[in-house]
Symmetry: C2
């Protein structure tokens, strides 16, 4: 099987974050041919157009990691029915400067854990809208809205076997998805992104 | 006329940001009874549950400013069809810790400038969803989707008189709105926010 580098962007930055626990479970259950990498997105500065043409080291390293990835898995908490600022900030960095959107055509998937029945639905769908704009190829099914109340034991393992089974199926589906839509060699099609047309463009400000 | 303190949260942090230009125009055209304050939201750390119970000074000052405000005006750029991380991060800080949502019942309005015809519609509507969850009273009309291509002269003044007229009307409408829904003395109604019910609650992670 082809080796795959998968970048995980984890939106929970606290040590005891549920989404970090979920990340560790997902990492541990990754298929053999998958290498998981992640990045401390809380080390990135806030995006500013003043920084983008001569960015600090952290940005350069983050962008290299996006470039080297065959696919991206987003694991997001829900803050006030949307994604956290720290996660959105990292996504914006990967899309800039204008015309150098590194997310373009990458296969992606979205998961999230929270305490409550909404299960990060709000956060994930805000994120999906952004990823659609960025022309990522985001897996539709299975969805993963996770009410993680009492889901982990003291060692951070999933208590419920059915949840574990679900993660396993999720991995299978994601790998099939990557095989179907992934193409690391596909060049950016000039002029197709973004659809807006100015060098010094919309979301820059 | 009653004196009003209005807090402006400006999502563009670059010096030459269009949204900062818009902010300065809005500030200059503020009615006499209005005092405008703003905050350098790029000085806030990324939200983490590890920080919220013993937050750094910047957070304490930011929260004081929210508390002291009679209303809040959000001025947002659009990054990838949503709001910038730096803005969302500030909103999340104002909502925490659990049960101490400082945005609750504050009158608010949303504006945004960009280069392009979408005029920050995407960013504003993601933001409106978050503000609804936070129980802010957000003015519906007039909307302010601003394609700011060539809108400002070298001194940062609006070139088009009609735009200036629009800002003036916007201020009038916002002041009426604040009069209608604003009530600084209204206590938080216990148990009504958030609708989820755990101390260590959803979006914390």
């Amino acid at each position: 099987m082809e080796k795959l580098n998968i970048l995980c962007i984890v939106g929970g930055i606290a040590q005891n974050s549920l989404n970090r626990k979920l990340f560790h479970v997902v990492e541990e259950m990754a298929p053999e041919n998958v290498t998981i990498r992640t990045f401390a997105i809380n080390k990135l500065p806030f995006f500013s157009q003043e920084l983008e043409h001569d960015p600090p080291d952290s940005i350069i390293r983050f962008k290299d990691m996006i470039r080297d990835s065959d696919a991206v898995l987003f694991i997001t908490p829900e803050y006030n029915r949307s994604f956290p600022g720290v996660l959105k900030n990292s996504v914006d960095w990967g899309s800039r400067p204008y015309g150098q959107n590194l997310w373009d055509k990458k296969p992606a998937a979205v998961m999230g854990a929270t305490v409550g029945t909404v299960g990060t639905f709000g956060a994930q769908h805000h994120l999906r809208q952004v990823l659609a704009y960025l022309n990522m190829s985001v897996m539709g099914q299975p969805e993963f809205y996770f009410n993680a109340t009492n889901a982990f034991n003291d060692r951070g393992r999933l208590i419920n076997e059915k949840t574990e089974e679900f993660v396993k199926n999720y991995w299978n589906a994601f790998l099939h998805w990557i095989e179907r839509v992934g193409d690391k060699k596909a060049p950016m099609i000039e002029g197709t992104f973004p659809t807006t047309d100015q060098e010094d463009s919309p979301y820059a400000h």
